[in-house]
């Protein structure tokens, strides 16, 4: 029986990821207290993307999965991104 031994992720790694995620959350709340104008939405979305990346990579085990899982996830996020870009191209230049 072929059996792949799944990688056991240490507890320590998970708690470190959590601390990073919480720090990013507090940072994103703190940054809204400063008025950055139109840049604030960009900053908020960049921080959210970094948080989502950490959740996907470590909590959702993409780091330890076969590469095709990563390729599929990138593909799906690309579709969403392209949809947003095309929609805005339409709204801005129609």
């Amino acid at each position: 029986m072929e059996k792949e031994k799944p990688y056991v992720v240490p507890y320590r790694l998970y708690s470190n990821v959590l601390i990073t995620l919480l720090a990013l959350t507090f940072f994103s709340v703190a940054i809204t207290l400063i008025d950055l104008g139109n840049i604030s939405i960009v900053v908020a979305l960049v921080i959210a993307s970094v948080k989502a990346f950490l959740v996907l990579k470590y909590f959702m085990h993409l780091k330890y999965d076969k590469p095709y899982f990563v390729i599929m996830v990138i593909f799906v996020f690309s579709i969403i991104l392209v949809t947003i870009v095309v929609t805005f191209l339409d709204y801005l230049y129609r």
């Binding site: 919480l22 959350t25 709340v29 809204t32 207290l33 969403i80 949809t83 709204y91």
Partner: protein, 205 residues
């Protein structure tokens, strides 16, 4: 006969994982389209969205973010505990995840209840007569997107409850950890959606 039955029993963790990811992709696309709608309406109603967002409590949103991040860690740790054959710790960690999910629901109930008390709910008299088109759109999207998110959270709680029951009865164990891993994946999806909902609805100053 019993022997033959046992061998025929099918267990393919990789296929199960692909299945769960495919479901997650459809969910991501569902919410992705809602984010596109949000982006366009926010672009068209910039000032109204900022005005309407003042109604939302950033502190409450931040607390809910912390709760979900914490619960994501505990369900991820539950898989590690199961692989290390620590059944009781697995159940405790999964139980904490469900408890945190419940606290999130209570917070949302308080939040929505507060809005309802102020007459802000889809189709309310106050909303349609007192507020501008942009503000109505903001609250419409707020209720639809957080509502859909909460629905997913409830499904996640049910999924983890079933998993806990199967861990307890010994059907899910270190060699058959797939159900727990996939329930975890679903729970992280709920987390990721909230990671984007939080800044878009609560962090507009």
């Amino acid at each position: 006969m019993e022997q033959a039955k046992h061998i025929a029993e099918h267990y393919d963790p990789e296929a199960s994982k692909i299945g769960m990811w495919l479901l997650i992709f459809t969910e991501l696309l569902l919410f992705g389209v809602l984010f596109v709608i949000y982006a366009v309406y926010r672009y068209l109603n910039h000032d109204a969205f900022h005005l309407a967002a003042e109604e939302l409590d950033t502190f409450m949103g931040a607390i809910n973010t912390v709760i979900l991040l914490l619960s994501s860690m505990t369900i991820a740790m539950a898989t590690t505990a199961l692989q290390k054959r620590n059944k009781s710790l697995t159940l405790v960690l999964a139980g904490i995840t469900i408890l945190l999910g419940m606290i999130f629901l209570v917070n949302k109930y308080v939040e929505w209840g507060g809005k309802f008390a102020h007459g802000i709910f889809p189709g309310s008299e106050y909303l349609t007569e007192m507020l501008s088109q942009g503000e109505i759109l903001f609250f419409g999207l707020y209720f639809v997107m957080t509502g859909l998110h909460v629905l997913h959270l409830i499904i996640g709680i049910v999924l983890i409850s079933v998993t806990m029951w199967k861990i307890n009865s010994g059907k899910v164990h270190a060699e058959r950890a797939s159900l727990l891993e996939n329930s975890g994946l679903y729970w992280h999806l709920v987390d990721i959606i909230w990671i984007f909902l939080f800044p878009l609805f609560y962090l507009i100053n």
